[in-house]
Amino acid sequence: MLQLQTYLLLLLTGIMWGGVYLLMASGLNLIYGVMKVVNLAHGDFIVVAGLLAVSLYGAFRAGPALAIPVATLLFLLVGGLIYRGLLARVETTAPQGELRTLLITFGLSSIISNIALLIWGGQYQSVPFFQSAVHLGALFFPESLLVSSLLAFALAFAVQLWLTRTRSGRLVRATAQSELGAASCGLNTGRIRLLTFALGAAMAGAAGALTVVLIPVQAASGGFMTVQAFTLIALGGLGNYLGALLAAILLGVIEVSSSYFLGASAASAVIYVIFILVLIVRPQGLLGQRGRI
């Protein structure tokens, strides 16, 4: 009985961590799905939003309830400016286009993380919110994990609804499927790309402001977060929303359960072994084209 309880706890904790990873990857996924741009500064957006939440806590004892809207709006603006100022000015569609956007976002990542280092220093920071445990029957869950994963799944659901059920969402999907086709039907694809990049950045901002209660960040953490998020969306099928959801849950459950049964050092290897296996068997990702934005 006790064993069963532990297994259930591991499974649910894994699903919740999946939610957190999904939250941290959503913005990257949206931007790639629509624009075919891998935003290498994505992790740095998350880190800066997290450090901003730390400063808001330090100044006003304000929690995620304030930090999330502030970071979301700020990164909506920052994302828009980056698109207008940088990405809109280079040819991004040609084969060399992807390379150019990689270089631009890589440089951006370096600039952002170094500015963050100047402002916040190099120490790991976190905020003490949602620190207690939530009891579900005999099971205990960290409140921060529960809140983060609930928000993550809600956000994933909302984005899915927006993409499939609203007019603007359908226009975004049209652009994702064929930019040329969308443009020739009279869509303002430039604006759609602007909106997508700003939204993707805002999602990174929201993710950072919330997950800092769970994962301490420092100015240089961004690169690793980008890699983690990219692994997840590549596993799910780049730009695929349902795939990312599936991959997130899979990764979370595998991480938590393999670190219980095999030890924490083995767990990180298991994840990448599975990643490589999936890429060999299904190079298009778990769901590939099906369910793509």
């Binding site: 904790t13 961590w17 120490q123 620190q131 009279g186 670190s259």
Partner: protein, 407 residues
């Protein structure tokens, strides 16, 4: 926002001014990051020049800055006492950005082109290990604040250790536990050099004091979720959960233990609780947690109160243990040079090995391999949102509060 619009003619490519200006900013930033340096030589007063590299920029800059200020205050104090061998001392230093390969280049430069008279070590064991062969090749005596024993195992006879050695970091925690009659221990170890060596020291001391290690596990440095680890540690029902950790993982373990209701009579971590951020990140959950420190402002070590006061006056902030260790390194350097009576590096190295000196960091005393035997570690505990020194009892600022209550 109108997404459905008549397409406009594509904008002509504007000159890439924005990209260019961003690149300029990036260049300026990287220039700032690489070119800070100390003063050059002034030949008129012919001061004794002490060279080193320090991490002034990059993620590790914050603690390294304390090291630098400790060195600076130490040099000022030497000069205020009339200098060394009748000459003033002067620091010559460069920013190594926390990179081992940069540190090697900088020490090469300090030795061969700046021709400094004396060397002291950089911040961090990794950097010390990287420059050790170079320093040994040029036979330069160098005290280094590298806690791991690897650089002091006989291969680099000119290096001496001027910080508490890693295996001793948590000995007083085990001593405290033995006094309280705690018998079993779960040990969580980050899979990197310092925590691994530290864990060996903990296990040895625990065995000597009759404490059983009932659970032991390592985890990678980038672990986010500690739930599984903490559940397994808790399942062994240990009296104590001890982590050989840094800051982020110590926080992660406490969060997971609290959320999963895993309890123990004592929680202690090597690095983590000693950082002020531990308290700000965990708030109430930090209270009752034990940590290790190598120095504390209230210690009655020789000249400690004066050091704290001077440090505040010089730099407008309180020193931390890094600053104290660096200051004590300068004290040891001065004593060794005075004992040697010259700048002959072999004589200075021999003087370091013979030294038995009371510094702000405690007794500086080495074995013949240059390993530090004198410096100790102390146990601090978060109490009501503040760090208090709790063990050994002779130096405690507040009585230790144990056992840790259930979450």
């Amino acid at each position: 926002m109108a997404l459905f619009q008549r397409p406009r003619a594509p904008r002509p490519p504007i000159g890439h001014t924005l990209i260019a200006s961003l690149l300029l900013i990036a260049l300026a930033l990287s220039a700032c990051a690489s070119s800070t340096s100390g003063g050059g030589a002034s030949s008129t007063s012919a001061p004794i020049r002490i060279g080193f590299s320090i991490t002034e920029t990059g993620p590790d800059a914050a603690p390294a800055k304390f090291d630098l200020q400790g060195y600076q205050l130490g040099a000022d104090t030497i000069n205020a006492q009339g200098g060394l061998l009748g000459r003033k001392v002067q620091l010559v230093y460069y920013d190594d950005q926390g990179s081992a390969s940069t540190a090697v280049q900088l020490y090469q430069r300090l030795i061969t082109s700046d021709k400094v008279d004396l060397l002291v070590g950089p911040y961090q064991t990794d950097l010390t290990s990287a420059i050790a062969p170079l320093v040994t090749r040029y036979k330069m005596a160098m005290p280094a604040m590298a806690a791991n024993l690897e650089p002091f195992s006989g291969r680099y006879p000119y290096l001496v250790q001027s910080i508490t050695q890693t295996p001793r970091y948590m000995i007083p925690v085990i001593d405290l536990a033995a006094t309280k009659g705690y018998k079993t221990l779960a040990l969580l170890i980050q899979d990197t050099a310092f925590p691994l060596e530290l864990a060996q020291g903990i296990k040895q001391e625990a065995a000597a004091r009759g404490i059983r290690v009932v659970f032991e596990a390592t985890y990678p440095a980038d672990t986010n979720d500690f739930t599984a680890l903490v559940l397994k540690a808790g399942a062994a029902k240990p009296d104590m959960i001890i982590g050989a950790t840094y800051l982020a993982d110590a926080e992660g373990i406490i969060r997971a233990a609290r959320a999963s209701n895993v309890n123990a009579k004592l929680f202690a971590f090597s690095i983590g609780p000693v950082e002020p951020e531990f308290g700000s990140a965990l708030a109430n959950a930090a209270n009752g947690i034990l940590g290790t420190t190598l120095w504390f402002p209230t210690l009655k070590t020789a000249g400690n109160a004066e050091f704290v006061q001077n440090f505040r006056a010089h730099f407008g902030r309180d020193p931390d243990y890094h600053a104290a260790m660096a200051y004590a390194t300068m004290q040891a350097l001065a004593a060794a040079v005075r004992m040697a009576g010259s700048l002959d590096q072999t004589k200075i190295r021999d003087a370091y090995l013979k030294l038995d000196l009371q510094t702000v960091a405690g007794e500086f005393k080495l074995n013949n391999l240059g390993q530090q035997l004198g410096y100790q570690a102390y146990v601090l505990q978060w109490q009501n949102g503040k760090q208090e020194l709790v063990w050994p009892p002779a130096v405690a600022t507040s009585p230790v509060q144990l056992p840790h209550p259930n979450w």
